[in-house]
Subunit: 115 residues, 2 copies
DNA sequence: AGCATATCTAACCGATCAGTTAGCTAACCG
DNA sequence: CGGTTAGCTAACTGATCGGTTAGATATGCT
């Protein structure tokens, strides 16, 4: 089963190396070698990370002589933001209204209170 | 190396089953059995997913007789939203408001000079 | 006490992941 | 042309993942 776009996006940015690469790309396009420089990691390893990011649509690649510059494509993150914000809103309401939680505890009866 | 909190959160919600569980929990607390019901998956499999979610701080567990009800804890998602919105804002400014052209010119210029 | 229910742990399995090294291809430059 | 540089693929490895079955544990019911 091939994963949905949202899962692709989220698992792509779940890796700290890939997040660092994306943040680097906010400063503008960069070559593979430039992207690899800050990491103690082989070039092929970076290539694999780039492939994951490209597969998730988070970057796109150009061609400039021997270089294959990477460019940020932040569009898929929109969906991710949308999904997560559902829960951010839940967080706002549920933490701002703690009594809702209390109601729930009381509703399941006083036996739950022990322990 | 143990992963940072943000990576924990993002990889936890990168799985569709776990996202479905979280969405279910927006309707209120639920037992493991209730959470497992919609899935064609064994109970221990669900337990593992719950453990991942708990490890990421996205749910907490109570105790009510034999039940160990799960409750949504959306707080860690705040950090995730914060991180992703950095890029959402990049998307807004560079694609919608089109200084993208300028950025790209600067970027190719920079890569041309480096090496 | 004895049984049923809810949940978890342990052990295992196949697939995927994140990294490596070695070697290939393509473009530039002398 | 030959050599250098950038990037990629292939093949391998150890770790982690997502699931399973079997069995342990804890609580409630009669």
């Amino acid at each position: 089963m091939q994963p949905d776009q949202l899962s692709l996006t989220l698992s792509a940015i779940a890796d700290p190396t890939r997040r660092a690469i994306l943040m680097r790309l906010m400063d503008g396009e960069a070559s593979v070698k430039e992207l690899a420089a800050p990491f103690e990691m082989s070039i092929p390893a970076i290539c694999k990370h780039l492939k994951v990011l490209e597969g998730a649509g988070l970057i796109s690649r150009g061609r400039n002589a021997q270089l294959r510059p990477c460019r940020l494509e932040a569009q898929p993150l929109r969906e991710a933001v949308g999904w997560i914000e559902e829960f951010a809103s839940f967080w706002d309401t549920s933490l701002n209204r703690l009594d809702g939680l209390l109601e729930r505890l009381q509703a399941t009866d006083a036996t739950a209170k022990k322990n």
